[in-house]
């Protein structure tokens, strides 16, 4: 396994915590050296995923939790959002995940269906797993141009 840091947080499945998760990803992505633009993309993408999870929990009528995991790699940030409170079993999740098939009807897209669409537009890779609740796994790569923003590294070619 490659070397990475993993950060996990659990929040109540309530709309008022979407902003809290957004602030968290902003901090983590900033630490990784993502550009302002990329951080804004990440904020929207994670908010969409958490909002979906919150809506799902609402329909289930339980006072659920949303689990968010951040895999912090040297070249990318992997984000997992699950609409249940259990901790992630990383290998299990990654083993059973496949590409998301965009097959939403136009009707669904009308008022509430833009969430996954935006996630796909803003992230480099998106996968959905439905085996244990809904888990969204999304990845954004740290492109080289953005590394230079870290101000204690003057742009030395590597």
């Amino acid at each position: 396994m490659s070397n990475f840091d993993f950060v996990e947080m659990r929040v109540p499945a309530k709309a008022e915590y979407v902003g809290v998760v957004r602030l968290s990803i902003s901090g983590i992505a900033n630490r990784l050296g993502f550009s302002y633009e990329a951080i804004e993309d990440l904020k929207v993408a994670i908010s969409e995923a958490v909002t979906n999870a919150v809506d799902h929990a609402y329909f289930e009528e339980d006072d659920g939790e949303v689990t968010v995991g951040f895999g912090v790699y040297g070249d990318r940030l992997e984000v997992m959002v699950a609409d249940h409170g259990g901790s992630f079993d990383l290998n299990k999740i990654k083993g059973g995940i496949g590409p998301y098939e965009g097959s939403e009807s136009v009707e669904e897209l009308r008022e509430g269906g833009f969430g996954l669409f935006l996630i796909e537009a803003l992230m480099d890779k998106v996968e959905i797993n439905n085996d244990y609740g809904v888990i969204v796994l999304m990845t954004k790569y740290l492109h080289e141009a953005e590394v230079g923003l870290d101000d204690d590294q003057i742009s030395t070619p590597q």
Binding site: E16, V18, G19, R22, E40, V44, E111, G112, F114, G115
Partner: protein
Amino acid sequence: MNLKIDVAEGNGKSVVKLSGEIDAYTAPQLKEKLLPLTNREGHRTEVNLENVHYMDSTGLGIFISALKSTKENDSEMRLVDLQDRVLRLFRITGLDEIITIDTAIRGGNEQ
């Protein structure tokens, strides 16, 4: 992580000035203020987003609802002064083609 909504009215027109963030938490408040305006027959509503520095699909959903309401009630809605990040979401989703967005008087992008 809040949304401030100020509504000024006059001459058959309302100006809704928003500041803050539009997300799952604040979107219902926006809907509550905006829809009664677009539901008025023949009414014109201008939504100023100059101070909205974050929005996601929940916001798009509200504006789609409001747009539907303008069609049903022969009213108008126009979005003005969008920050680039917010405008981008309308562009990505193609909604800028169906919602009237005034991009001529953009401001508040620097920061």
